[in-house]
Structures are given as C-alpha cells and as structure tokens.
C-alpha cells in the first residue's frame, strides 16, 4: 500500500506552494481574529491583554476601535494604549462615530486593534462594512487584531439562527475568516457565562433583552460553543491540509468529489448555497453554484433576478464558483444533469419544491426529474427555512411593457373578424370543418405576432364566433348537435394549446433577436475599435457605445502624472464631484469596483470599474444613470464587462503602438549614433595617420631627405591638419544644430559680399579649379546670418572641389526670381545619381566614388541644409541639364520690408 502511494506524483500541489509563497513574501498585514461563541466570553478583553503583551515586546500597536460597552475591566485595559480618535459622521441629523480609517493609514502602526469585525459602517464611510476597512488595512501592510462571534460567519448564519432563533444581520464572508493568519478561540463554559450575565458583566442591547432569555440558555450556549469549536477546528484542518499539500503529503481526502448547487429565484437559495459550502468543506471538494437561464427567466421580476444575482455573489464570497448557463427548451432538470455530467459533479444540492401538487402535475417537478435522471450522481434535497426576504413591492421585469397596450388586443379582434368574414365566404362551399381551420389560422397568426394573451383573447373570441355564426343553431350561443359540442371543445383546447406554443416560440424568437442585436452591436463596436487609431478616438468610441447600449452616462479616466484624470465622456463632461473623484481613485488604486452599488464608497454618484487587460488596470470607467435603484441588471453588467474589456484592449493597443514607435525611434537614434562613432573614428584616424607618418619621417629620416621631400612632407602635415580641423568643425556644427544651439543672427546683407568672403576662405581648396562668378546687379539685401551663410557656401564649394576634376570650372550664379533670390553653384564633375538627390542631404551620406576621392565627413551638406532652413531658405540638388555635373540651388526670401537707403550722404 505504502509503495503504491509512493508511486503517485509526490510533487507539492502548486496552489499550496503559491499560497505559501504569497504568504511569505507578501507585504500584506497579518490578521488575528479572536472568536467567541457568544457575547460576553471576553474576546475584547483577551485582545487587549494580548495587545499589552505585544506592546511590552516593543511593537508599535494602537487601538483603531474598541467597544468597551461600559465594562470596567475592559476600560482599564484600554489605558496605556494609543487610541485613534473616531471619525464623526453626520447621518440624518444624528452624530455617529466610526473608525477613522484614513487616520490609521497615515499613522501606519505595526498592529491595530479593530473590534467587532462584522460591524456595518454608517452611510458616508468609505466602505459599507468594517471588514472591508480591515482588508484595506491589511493590504497596506498593517497587522490587525479583531473580534467576532461565531454567528457572524456567513456560512454559519443559518445554523446559528436555527439554534437561537435570532438571525444576525451583520456577517463577514467566510473568505475573510479563512484569510486570518491566526484564530484564537476565546472559550468559557456555558455556566460561567450565564453567571457573568447575571452579574451584569455582559453587554446586552436593550431591544434584545426579551430574546436573550432564550439565547443564553445552557443548551443554546453549548450548541454555539460546539459550533465555534468545530469551525475553528475546521480552520486548523485547512491549515494542516495546506501544509500537507505544500509538502506533497498524501492526505486522506476524498479524491474527485465535486458539489453542485442550483441557484434559483427561490428565497431559500441562499441557505442552499451555505449548505453547499459546508458539504463541500466536509468533503474537501470544490463546489459550484449554477443558475440556469431558461425561457422562464425572461418572465422573472426585478426582485427575483436580483435574488439570483445575490445568491451567485454569495457563492463566490463563500469560496465557490458561480456559473450561469443558458437553458434549452428542455426541462431545467435536463440542463442540470447535462452540466453535472460534463463537469464530473458527484453531488447535487437542490431545494425541496415549494410548489403545490397541482402545479407539479401540470409543469412537472424539477426535483423529481432530477432524481430520476441523475444516474450516479447523489442528489441532496434540502428543506430550507422560510424565506427571510423583506417584502418588496413586486415590480415587473424591465423588458415587459408595464403599460397596458391595447393595440395587440385590437389586432387580435381584427384578425378574428377577418377570419369570420372568410369563414362566411367559404362556409357554403367547403363546409363547417374547414371554417375552424380558418379561425385557427387567425389564432396562430395573432399568437406569433402579438404574444400569449392577445392570442388567448383571440381563441376565446374565435370560439364564440364559431359557435355563434357557424354551429347550428347559428346566431345563438347554444349548440344543438353533440358532435359539434365535441368539435367545439376540441377546438377550444387546440386553440389554447396552439396559442401557448406559438407564444412560446415568439418569446424565444424575441429573446434570440435581442441577443443577436446585442452581439451584432458588440461586433460592430469591436470592428470600429480595431480601425480607430488615436487614443481620443478610442475613448470616444468606447464611451459612446457604452452609453448607447446601456443607456447610461459614461466617463472614462486614465492615469496621468500619478493621479487619474477624466479623458473622455458621453455626454461630454470633465468635472467630477469629490465623492466621485475619491471613488474613481480608489477603484484605480485597488483594482476593484467602487462607487454606487458597490462595496466601497457607495454614496458616490457613479459606479467606477477598473478597465483591465492582461497586463493590469489601465484606466477606470464610470457610469451613472437617473434610474433609481440598481444601476445595472446582471445582463447589463455582463454587457458592460464585454464593452469594458474591448475598450481596455483598444486603449492598450494604442499605448503599445506608441511604445513601439518610441522604441523604433530609439533604435534609429542608436543606429545613427553608432554610424557617427564609426565615421568619426575613421575620419579622425586617417588624417592623423598621415600627420604622424609625415612628422615621424621628418624626425627620423630628416638627415637623408632632400629639401623638396621635406617640403612635401611638411605640406602633407599642414594639409591633413587643416582637413582634420574642418572635420572637427563640421562635427561641432552638427552637434550644435541638433541641440538647437544655433540661432541665426540675421541682418540685411549683400549676397556678393558673403560670396566673396566665402570664396576667399575656400581659396586654398579651390586652387585647382577655375571660379566663375556671375551675380545679377542690383540684387536686394537679404536677411542672413553672415557667418552661417558663409559656412554653407564654404561647405558646398568644398563639396564641389572634391567631386569636380582639377582644371574644371566651378560657377556661381545669382539672380532674382519674384519674391526670392536664387544662388546656384554648378560644377563639372560626374553629377549625382538621381536616386541620391535628396539623400545626399542626410547625415553621414556619401556618394560612393571609389578611393580616388578624398572622402568628406558626409556632414557638410546636412549642416548646410540645416543652416539654410534656419534662415528660412531652401537648398536642393540637381544634375545639370546642359552638361555633366551637379548644381546646388539655394533660394532665400527677399525681406518684405526691404528699405531703400539714402546713400547720398
């Protein structure tokens, strides 16, 4: 046996490991709960005692909120511990005091004491329940000590109510209890507790004194005590289990059990869910709450739908899964069994039918069907307590028209009238048997077109007409012939049945069409989002579509500068009031819904939901409507989730595209930088090599060199040094251009003056070429920076000298062309390849010409273009049309306020 076990996979369960890892490395605070069976056992006292001990150990421990209820011993223990003053909240003229969550967060103690974990906060607090406050404290890394009674635990709520006949409203979800890192049971024997009650040491609210007699009976207390002990033991069991799973110890748990509970609109469904949790815990099995959406669901009232949604939410809170499946036309039992078999369910829990027998005969009982079809699956039929829902006035479901619409009924009567007419026509020829078929046709048409009730009206009316107008004696409501009576009766039955079926089909068709419309709208929305490029468009499309489909007002907020800011809305609006801003920020920071109808800040006007993608939350969407009551039905909530997800994905896509572009630019910049480095290293080393070589030769071989050779070497040194100088100058210019440090110092200048000085400066480079200068006389003065423009000309002349063979002519021409002055530099070299005419102005670009040409830096023309454009001119390159060679054309605008100077003086 043992060997067999060892053959099993001995790896630790991944979930357990994850849990352990999360526990170890998580910075979440630790929760310690002091549990008692009943009030008065001394939980608060115990908590305070522990707190003092911790304080002596050196921990920073403060009191968040502690209820002493006037007990002297407890009050004595409060002394010596720092107390955070409570926050005062005004509620309908009353002054209420609640724990000051923000003050505690600011204070950041190591441990805080929060009494009565199940307490409900006053309206206006950040969270409706104190345990939510505690969860937030834990998330921020603050440890919490708290107290509860066993009846406050959600899954035990029913059981305790059964025992004590007192149902406690304030509960905490089992998940919170299970999340506690340490649970301390504060336990005293029931007799001692009763003695304490008599001594007046137990807090008793005035209203409950009456019921208290029963509550504090020995049997009750014993039962409660046992419950508390057992629940604590279960927790220990769980911890042990997790530990065993962590260390891959095979435990005695039942393999493969799975529990399914049916969540219907029945008020007892909540009790069923709690039972399911207890069963699942005992079996150490996973469990699911299942809701089947049948055609009957379309006819449920608002209240019933809410109840289903609440039940599903309760299931999730208690740690189970909540699933909704669409039902087929078959019975619900069939859907349940199908799901159960598909998911290896071994236990189904269903509530005992509360319907009358008559109803069961007509419509069948889900329970009976289930038991019969369940096969190998065990079925638990639970008798729950009577429902505890508050009586709410029944409101019809939203998709049925509340107002009475006479139109379908009028249509029904019209159809019958038409059938009557037709019947009268064919009666003489085809006989009575075919007349009822005509009426049936009318009834079916009405059922398909108008629904169930108009078709029933049509049935009744048609029957009467049939009787009155066709069955002998005609024009009376009596029937003479017995066979006709039978025919009549069957006619009625058929009419009603057909109405029913047709109406059912129609309802299904209507639902299906509605669903198809929704899907179509979602599809169109998704296509639109895919085609939209900018962030604003995406936000607008999302807001608009959400508002349109859900008939709500929408705002979308995105993060900016560390906070969250309204970026789009429909209808457009960008200011939120304080409560909304707080809710939006909270939803963003905690990645959970906040605002109207949620667990946090329910007083805000809007409901805020984080927009999430796989990478986390990227924004918050807020919705609001004027409809009172619940903001969204569960269906609408699902639709919102779908829209939200699509919107979030589209936004993420836009961000990613921007990131990609940024990365591309960085890559490009890197590429340029490495090109620069390569170019520099080559272009620095080449002249330096010549210089070093020549100087070295001079030094080492000076004696054996002729004067001519020495002169030659010296010329090399000087030429290459000047070349190096020009190269470095180009680099500096390029750097300054790029960093925007070049600001042209423009003033009116004569073109010829600058051309002249540029030619002079380039004299040495142009020594092997002929220069022709032809500037039109009377050219207006141009707004130039003389130094920069001279540099441009120098660069172009340098370029021309490099690429034009020695002895050829370099020609400069200048003339006026309308509002511009043009200057052209033409050479007689090989010209520029047509593809490169624009690219030569790129940085580091050099037309390949072989080793004959002394390579330049590739920067000269780029710098020229940059400088000319800084002076608001243009520069372009082309090939000469009259012969082989390149021509560079610079155009500069003539200043509009060119002044004529008086030079007579």
């Amino acid at each position: 046996m043992a060997d067999q076990r060892r053959d099993f996979d001995q790896r630790p369960s991944p979930d357990a490991l994850l849990e352990a890892a999360r526990r170890e490395e998580s910075r979440a605070g630790k929760l310690r709960i002091f549990v008692g069976a009943a009030p008065g056992v001394g939980k608060t006292y115990e908590m305070l005692t522990t707190a003092h001990a911790r304080k002596r150990d050196g921990y920073d421990i403060i009191i968040g909120v502690v209820e002493t209820h006037g007990r002297k011993e407890t009050e004595a223990l409060v002394e010596g511990l720092e107390v955070v003053p409570r926050k005062r909240i005004d509620y309908r003229g009353q002054q209420l005091e609640e724990m000051n969550l923000d003050a505690i967060l600011t204070r950041r103690p190591q441990i805080v004491l929060v009494d009565e974990l199940a307490h409900t906060n006053a309206a206006g607090s950040r969270h409706p329940k104190r345990y939510l406050d505690v969860l937030e404290l834990l998330e921020r890394g603050i440890d919490v000590y708290s107290t509860i009674n066993v009846q406050h635990i959600e899954s035990l709520n029913d059981v305790v109510a059964q025992i004590t006949h007192v149902r406690v409203r304030e509960t905490i979800p089992d998940s919170v209890f299970d999340r506690a890192d340490a649970v301390e049971l504060v336990d005293i024997p029931p007799d001692d507790l009763i003695a304490r009650l008599k001594e007046g040491k137990v807090y008793v609210p005035k209203q409950a004194e009456r019921a208290l007699e029963h509550f504090f009976s020995p049997t009750n207390l014993t039962a409660l005590r046992e419950l508390a002990l057992r629940r604590t033991a279960e927790r220990v069991d769980d911890q042990l289990l997790t530990q065993m799973q962590e260390h891959a110890i095979q435990g005695p748990w039942a393999a493969g059990e799975r529990v399914l509970v049916c969540a219907s609109e029945d008020p007892r469904a909540a009790g069923l869910v709690r039972y399911a949790k207890r069963l699942a815990d005992r079996l150490h099995a996973p469990w699911t709450a299942l809701s089947v959406e049948s055609r009957r669901s379309a006819q449920l009232t608002e209240e019933e739908r809410d109840r289903i949604a609440d039940t599903l939410r309760l299931a999730t809170t208690l740690g189970g899964e909540a699933i909704t499946i669409p039902g087929g036309d078959r019975r619900i039992a069939d859907d349940l069994v199908r799901y159960a078999q598909a998911n290896n369910v071994t236990q189904i829990i269903i509530g005992k039918s509360a319907r009358s027998r008559w109803f069961e005969i007509l419509h069948g009982s889900v329970v009976h069907d289930l038991i019969r079809r369940a096969g190998n699956i065990s079925v638990h039929v639970i008798a729950g307590e009577d429902g505890d829902g508050d009586p709410i006035a029944k409101r019809p479901a939203a998709d049925q028209t509340p107002a009475f619409d006479p139109f379908p009924y009028a249509g029904a009567l019209l159809a019958v009238a038409i059938a009557l007419g037709v019947g009268e026509l064919i009666h003489p020829r085809l006989g009575i048997e075919n007349v009822d078929l005509v009426f049936l046709t009318a009834i079916v048409a009405v059922a398909v077109r108008f629904g169930l009730w108009p078709s029933l009206l049509a049935s009744v009316t048609a029957s009467l007409c049939y009787n009155f107008f066709f069955l002998p004696p005609i024009y009376t409501f009596t029937i003479a012939d017995p066979t006709n009576v039978a025919a009549f009766v069957f006619f009625i039955i058929m009419a009603v049945l057909v109405s029913n079926v047709a109406a059912r089909v129609r309802t299904q068709a209507v639902t299906a069409m509605a669903r198809a419309r929704t899907t179509e709208a979602l599809y169109v929305f998704s296509r639109k989002l895919a085609s939209v490029g900018t962030l604003d468009d995406v936000l607008w499309a999302t807001a608009y579509q959400t508002a349109l489909m859900l008939k709500v007002r929408v705002v979308i907020l995105l993060p900016e500068n560390g906070t969250i800011v309204v970026k789009a809305g429909y209808p457009p609006e960008d200011t939120l009031d304080d409560a909304d801003v707080a809710a939006a920020k909270w939803a963003w920071q905690n990645d959970r819904p906040a605002g109207r109808g949620s667990d946090t800040l329910p007083g805000a006007k809007r409901l805020f939901l984080p927009m999430r993608t796989g990478r986390g939350a990227i924004g918050v969407i807020g919705i609001d409507s004027d409809k009172p009551g619940q903001l969204l039905t569960p269906d609408e909530r699902r639709l919102l989730d779908a829209l939200n997800d699509q919107g979030a994905l589209a936004i993420e896509r836009v961000y990613l595209v921007e990131d990609m572009d940024r990365v591309k630019r960085t890559v490009e910049a890197d590429r340029l930088r490495s090109a620069l480095l390569t170019s520099i290293s080559h272009d620095l080393k080449t002249p330096l090599a010549s210089i070093l070589g020549a100087a070295g030769t001079m030094r080492d071989l000076g004696g054996s060199l002729s004067d001519a050779q020495k002169a030659d070497l010296l010329a090399t040194i000087i030429d290459e040094s000047e070349r190096l100088n020009r190269f470095i100058a180009n680099l500096l210019d390029m750097t300054r251009l790029e960093s925007g440090a070049i600001v042209p110092n423009s003033a009116p200048h004569d073109l010829d003056e600058i051309v002249g000085s540029a030619l002079r400066r380039a004299g040495k480079i142009l020594v092997r070429h002929r220069i022709e200068l032809e500037l039109a006389p009377g050219l207006p003065m141009l707004d130039l920076d003389a130094v920069l423009f001279e540099q441009v000309l120098f660069n172009i002349l340098d370029n021309a000298a490099k690429y034009a063979p020695a002895g050829t002519t370099i020609r400069l021409q200048g003339w006026r062309d309308g509002g511009n002055v043009c200057l052209q530099i033409l050479d007689e070299g090989d010209g520029i390849p047509p593809d490169d005419l624009e690219r030569i102005f790129d940085k580091f670009y050099r037309v390949q010409k072989g080793d004959q040409v002394r390579a330049g830096t590739g920067l000269g023309l780029a710098i020229s273009r940059g400088l000319i454009e800084a002076m608001r001119g243009t520069i372009g390159a082309a090939n000469r049309s009259d012969r082989c060679g390149a021509v560079f054309t610079i155009t500069l605008p003539v200043p509009t306020d060119a002044r004529r100077l008086d030079t007579a003086a």
């Binding site: 110092n745 600058i754 200068l773 100077l901």
Partner: protein
Amino acid sequence: MSAAPPKVLVIDDEPPIRKLLRMGLTTQGYEILEAPNGKTALDLLAQKPDLIILDLGLPDIQGIELLRTIRARNDSVPVVILSSRGDEAGKVAALDLGADDYVTKPFGMDELLARMRAALRHQLQVHGERPVFKVDDLSVDLVRRIVKVRDEEVKLSPKEYDLLRLLVQHAGKVLTHRFLIGELWDDLTDAQYLRVYVRQLRQKIEADPEQPRYILTETGVGYRLRAP
C-alpha cells in the same frame, strides 16, 4: 623706431601654444614674456610689454575681464586676441573693448606675425610716419586727400573717403562694425548702412568688387584693409 627688440607678453594657459609662440616669435627677433594665467599676466604688465597676445579662453579669469583690466591700466598697448572658431560674439566683444586684432585657432604663424606687425605699425603710424599709404595698385594720400587706383584718381564722397581713411589708418587691423559706425556716424547703429557704403567703396576702388583684394570682409566681425 626703438632698437631694443619688442617685448611680447603671451598670455595662454596651454604650454604647447606658448612653446610654439616662443619659438616662432624669438626667431623673428621678439622678446617673449609668458603668463599661464591672468594673475601672472597682471604681474608681468609691470614690465611694460610692447604687444600682448591674449587667449580668450583662460582658466581663472575670463579673457574679456582680463582685457578690461589691462586696458584700464594701459590704454595704448596693442592686444591681439587668440579666439576659437564660432565665437564671433567673443571676438567682437574683445575688439570693442579695445583689442586690436584677432587670430582664430588653429592659426598659421605667418598670419599671426602679420597681425602683430599691423598692430605695432598702427602704433607707429599714429605718430605720423608715412603720409602716403600704398598697397598694390591703391594709393591714398592722407594729407592731400587724394585716392588713386592704378594712378587714376578716384572720386569719393566724403563719407566714403572717411571710411577709407579709417581703414588705411588701421591698415592690416580688423575694425569692427561698431567701431566704424561709431567713427562715421553720430547716431546710427544699423550695420546695414555701413555695408552699403563698403559696397559702394569697393565698386570704386576694387578691380573685381565681388572678390575684393583691398577691403576684406571679416565675416561677422567687421572689415580690414589689406596691409602692404
């Protein structure tokens, strides 16, 4: 003309430059004083140099500041600035503050020597040494106010003559736009006018006004008449 070799004070923080200048100048018969920083320079001023070569990019004190101090103590000693490429503003500021000429690094020794000679000559010229100025085909008689190009007299307007006279008096030295404007006009500050006059002058005395040989443009700084 003094018989003693002219004393040149070289103020530059870079040893290689100082070495280069020392070698170049001593072979030409100059006596060298070296100062690696402003403080030493001010101390050496006491020895009354005949010319100062000042590097604008000094470590401890801005070149301009030092120039200001030197000029405050000694109004007339010629100063030649060593400047770097692209620092037009610095050059113009130095020239306006009283420097006589500038040379851009890296420079050729011949250029520096020419500028030094021009600066020294100016000193001498003030004391009325030569009345007729001649360079290539251009001759200017400052006493009788006659300008000839290739022995043909050229008619100049009064303003044009004043401009030419200034250039001749400082032949070989660069004159900033501001200096010229200040000398020629009372209230005008726009260099544009100056450029117009220079163009007109060139039209009259230059063989190829677009590639002038006498009146040279120092781009961004001013003008210089070529020294003989």
